[in-house]
Amino acid sequence: MQVRRLPSGGRIDRDRPLAFRFNGKGYMGFSGDTLASALLANKVRLTARSFKYHRPRGIMGSGPEEPATLVELEGRHASANRAATTVRLEDGMAARSVNCWPSPGLDLGAVSQLFAGLIPAGFYYKTFKWPGWRLYEPAIRRAAGLAGAPDAPPQDGHFEAVHAHADVLVVGAGPAGLMAALVAGRAGCRVFLADERAEAGGSLLDRRLEIAGGPALDWVAETVAELTSMPNVMHLQDATVWAYREHNFLMVNERSPANPSIQERNWRVRAGHVILATGAIERGLVFPDNDRPGVMLASAAQAYVNRFAVKPGERAVVFANNDSAYAAAANLLASGVDVAAIADSRDAVPGHASDIAGDIPVMAGSVVTGVRGQRSVKGATVSGRDGRGASTIECDMLLHSGGWNPAVHLFSQSRGSLRYDESLATFVPDEAAQACVSVGAAAGELSLASALRTGAEAVARTTGTEMPDLPTATGESYAITPLWRVDAPGAKGRAFLDIQNDVTVDDVHLALREGYDNVEHVKRYTTGGMGFDQGKTGNINIIGTIALQKGVPLQDVGATTFRPPYTPVSFGAIGGIREESVVLPYRHTPVTRWNLDHGAFMYEAGARWRRPGYFPRGDETFQETVNRECRAVREGVGVYDGSPLGKFELKGRDVGRFLDHVYTNLMSTLEPGQCRYGFMLTEDGLILDDGVAMRLGEHRWLVSTSTAHADTVNGHMEELLQTQFPAWNVYVTTVTSQWNNATVCGPKARAVVAALGTDIGLSPEELPFMRFADGHVAGLPARVVRVSFTGELSFEINVAPRHMRELWERIMETGVPFGIEPVGSEASHVLRVEKGFLSLGHEVDGTVDAHDLGMGWIMSRKKADYVGKRSVELRRRSKAVRRELVGLLPVDKKIQIPEGAPLTPGGEKRPSEGLVTACVWSVVLNRWVALALLENGKSRHGETVHVRLKDATIAADVMEPVFYDPDGRKMRS
């Protein structure tokens, strides 16, 4: 039974009842409810337990400021740690409280209240230091127990992230925001209007105000209708602007997109101008036991009766230091709630406020010094500020208002500065840092008329349009005398500053006593303001408490930094469609499909390419597969897909001298038809890439790079050409995806290419090693290049991607009589290690140079200068000990050395003298062989060195880093 539901009124649809469950019990609510309003309608008061002390808590707010009731949604709505006040009720929803087990009524963790006095601020930091926080953290986290992440992706729908652009982004669809959007829309601007609530109106939904002589919500409806009719206006509700980043880039989390298959959407909006109409948030008062279920913000109670037609209680005591609570009290009274008294801490109550109070007794100069009832408010003790005349008033609800704080969160995120305003007793926006304007309550303009005016003005000024005629609005006025805490004699008990994180006045005092006297330090030491609510109701009270204790003005204490998100956002919304198969990007070649169809085990290689690791067959072991593929290349013929290699066509008069500058060796002397292997260095002398340059014609060259470094090399070349040599005539065109290649390698490679049919002469005389020729292979236009990355006779057959799959299939067909095997990257790795060929990332690790690798010949002496030359020379002059590339043969040939293992002198636990860069089972030597970087390795051939593992050593003999065909006869054959 919705016993607390009013018979009429409110923004709910009584024709659409919704069933839901909370902590296992079934309830009913209406469409238009939040979970919080539905719980209150059902008279559920004890809804949560606190984070640290497990104190009983109820619903305290009505929106994102809610500090107490966090819930975990279950089933298809699965979502953790949501403020009950921001959860739109849906049929079949199931929720439960966090922080308690098994329920908030019977919470076993509540035993910690008994020790509460022993858990002051910083307790964990001080107590759980030895031997380390990590030992204690899991148990403590479990006890504190926020909800866990959902264990499955959403079942009905997905997330989306999308870009948007606007001339004017209006944040908030209250009176100021609607007015701003209207003026901007009429001026023809592209407007993006986003508001966090389910419907437009902002604070007008919560209150009973008039615009243009009628109910304010009529004006809202008319305005929304006009905005909807404008094609240049995008208007979103249930959409929170949660981040304001540099260059007017803002993020909007839309939770009810029109597209039903989308659960949440994250807009990334780039705006010309931003209008911040974010309203204001009521703050609480700080008095003993101000966290009991039934203690509620006055504005929240007002919202529950007006917007949700729910009486949050039957009899209220109101406690305030400002005028706004009077209207709340009057609205409650009009809805049938008994308002026992208004305790106002001010000595004099302004006349217009007393007028609003009417028959409600007003107790000026009074404060609440205590609350009766643990699980539900039963009464409030009210006394004078000096503690005299204390009396207890029976009530089931204590409504409090400490004043209004402009919601400056986004303004502050945008790096705008804040100013403490004495008359409003709060921080207001000061200097903007980006193209944005705060309007309405967000700017401290707390009356309805000024909200409408400032909203219109801001846009009129920005767009250079005329001010429209403004509608009349109900007059209000606002006055406040700050009260940062109740310290009347007799006020005993915990007075909370941050309800969610259980931070009390005493905790802040302790932090100050212990020397944490900067507001940012107080925040971190006490965790005040670090909860899901980010201290929306309590932060300024912390600042006020510090100011009082230190005897300085609030302006000097300052506010802590506001950071995104303004309210919690699902990670899924931020990621958008990037889940499952597209979490990471991937690249395919035209042969990828074939590889998958032929059972290849796929790896992710450099630059996001998916490549076959190996092609298992039957019940082979991994090693048997790799050995078979290696033997095919060494003894017969294999083929691999070399398409991912980076390729760039260079054109121009100065390409030769440019290549001489970027490569260590001389390239300009190549004749058309020739190619040469070379190193590119960075200016600090480290190896950037190894690759092959080919001269295609007088002014045309092709540079091929390693797969992983294609983009890096492209950027390197372009940067040099555009910033250092702008006058040189060199044009670079990326052709990585214009040329695919199948590389046929092994002693029978020539026979296979011949059998494919080609008009290119394949003999060693016609097409020797490191030459290329253009023509046809298998009837397809092709370029055949004689390079070798396996040490065998190789023909790299390059074709356009449109022909690649056909070429590949023809090779596999034609190769059958020759026993051809497709070769994966595992076998390629073995083949190159047997030859002692380098691999970037293995032997080339960002410390070695060409000399260390035994490739000093690649460092041209003829050239006066090239990128990296000066630095390598400088480093080599230092005579420091270098780690040099060697081959290693484990003394026991059946022992494999883990790649990356350190070498230490004698295998002792001493600083390493090198590391193993690769270790493979060699099919030609029938044993494990390894490559390593070893201190002074070149002069240590024949020595036995030791690999140091955790509990063992492996002895290995040092040799030349080449295990097969040291003269390279096979690849030149």
Partner: protein, 85 residues
């Protein structure tokens, strides 16, 4: 997410660019530069609190290597000392 002015394309999202680092002085003539000066040029990168001149590569756009002055405190793109007037 910054909005970076590209001389060819106009203002574009930062995600279209690759960061190229602060602009160093011109590369000195290697053989006319002492070891210390070379190392200084190589390893000392401007890192001011405030405007810094830096390069960005419009790699996903038109391919231009461009130079901007960015205030490291605010991400604001500002006029460099040479741009005034």
């Amino acid at each position: 997410m910054m909005l970076i002015p590209c001389p060819f394309c106009g203002h574009r999202n930062e995600s279209e660019f690759a960061y190229g680092g602060p602009v160093k002085p011109d590369r000195p003539e290697p053989h006319e530069t002492g070891d210390e000066d070379w190392v200084e040029w190589l390893t000392t990168v401007p890192n001011p609190l405030g405007p810094v001149e830096e390069r960005w590569w419009h790699v996903k756009g038109c391919g231009t290597w461009l130079t901007i002055w960015r205030d490291t405190r605010t991400h604001e793109i500002v006029e460099g000392p040479g741009d005034a007037g």
